[in-house]
Every structure is written in structure tokens, then in C-alpha cells.
């Protein structure tokens, strides 16, 4: 996954802003590069869980579509745990076509990793930060 640095910075900032609550949102790309992030409400408002609001989810995807962008990834934060999918993340990863990005703030370090998760199988993706 290629992601503009400003977007990587923004999702880290989003994670920090909401910590210890989990932050979440969509990432949209153009020409294969993530160039926009959409911050969505974590309706669970939880330190241990997140869920999207379906209405906001549809509005976001349609906005991206209107602007010629592909929603290519969903992101969420792990305020105090590593940037790898938990069993719960894997269990709830139903979309085989999207990338799952995790922003970790564990131990005071920022870490952004991406995964494809299909039928419970987790495949890490290289994250390339571009200008």
C-alpha cells in the first residue's frame, strides 16, 4: 500500500486525539495511492472495540465515489497494543477486498501497518510512505 505522508500523519494524529478510545475511519485512494482519510465515529466509543455507523459508512463511501476516489482501506487504532490484527479484528474482517490498516500507539511509539484478511488468513502488506 502506498500512502501519502500527510495522510499517514493524519491517521496517527486521529489515533492520538481519541486515545485511549479506538479511532477508526476509511482510507481512499487515487491511482493506487492513498490520498484521503475519512474519520468515522466509533459508535462503540470504547478503548477495546470499534464499529462503524452504517449510515455514516454509506455517506462516506458515496462521497469518495463522487470525488473519483476508491475506498481501499479501513483503519483503526490500537492505543496500547501492537499494530497487528487481534483475534477479534480477524473474526470481524468480512470484506475480502479491502485493506485493514492498524495504527498502534503502544509504548509511546507510532506504528502503521496494513493487512489483507480473507477467510481468517492474515497477509501483511508493505506500507510505503510517499510524498
Amino acid at each position: 500500500m502506498k500512502i501519502k505522508k500527510e495522510i499517514s500523519d493524519k491517521i496517527i494524529a486521529h489515533a492520538k486525539q481519541l486515545a485511549p478510545i479506538e479511532a477508526c475511519g476509511y482510507l481512499a485512494s487515487q491511482d493506487g495511492i492513498v490520498c484521503k482519510h475519512y474519520e468515522l465515529i466509533n459508535i462503540d466509543n470504547s478503548e477495546e472495540h470499534f464499529s462503524f455507523d452504517p449510515k455514516e459508512q454509506f455517506n462516506t463511501v458515496k462521497d469518495a465515489r463522487t470525488n473519483g476516489l476508491d475506498v481501499s482501506a479501513v483503519y483503526h487504532s490500537h492505543p496500547a497494543t501492537p499494530a497487528r490484527p487481534s483475534q477479534e479484528d480477524i473474526r470481524l474482517a468480512y470484506d475480502p477486498n479491502i485493506s485493514y490498516v492498524i495504527v498502534s500507539l503502544a509504548d509511546g511509539k507510532e506504528d502503521v501497518k496494513s493487512f489483507k484478511i480473507v477467510d481468517g488468513k492474515v497477509d501483511p502488506e508493505e506500507v510505503e510512505i510517499v510524498a
Partner: protein
Amino acid sequence: MNVKVNGKDQAFDKEALFVKEVLTICEVSQPDMVSVQLNGEFLQKEDYDGTSIKDGDEIDFLYFMGGGILY
């Protein structure tokens, strides 16, 4: 019949289709885990079987998105 599915035009070789059939054609293996809008209005999951779509309709579906930190 021509239908817009997730914003993209798609042709189906059928006169009538139910929403659940569209999800099957789109390889949605767990229809209970997607939300569906038909012409911008949410459908109840129990209506996926019985709601038919017609030429020119717009259907959008999105997977549930959630997770947690349980290891």
C-alpha cells in the same frame, strides 16, 4: 436488466432479481454481515430475500466494519 451496483453499472441476464441474489452474484458469502441500500434507502436484513430489484435501480452494499483488541 441494468442495475448500478456500488456505483458501477452492471447488466444481469434476468428479468427479475432479488437483493439476496445480487449479493450472491457479487460473491458476498455472508449476507447477514452487509448493510444494503436500495435507491438510497436501507433495507432490513430479513427483507434481502423478498425484495426485488428492477431495471435502473441502484443497490449499494457495505460490509460491517468493526474490531477489537481481544487476543
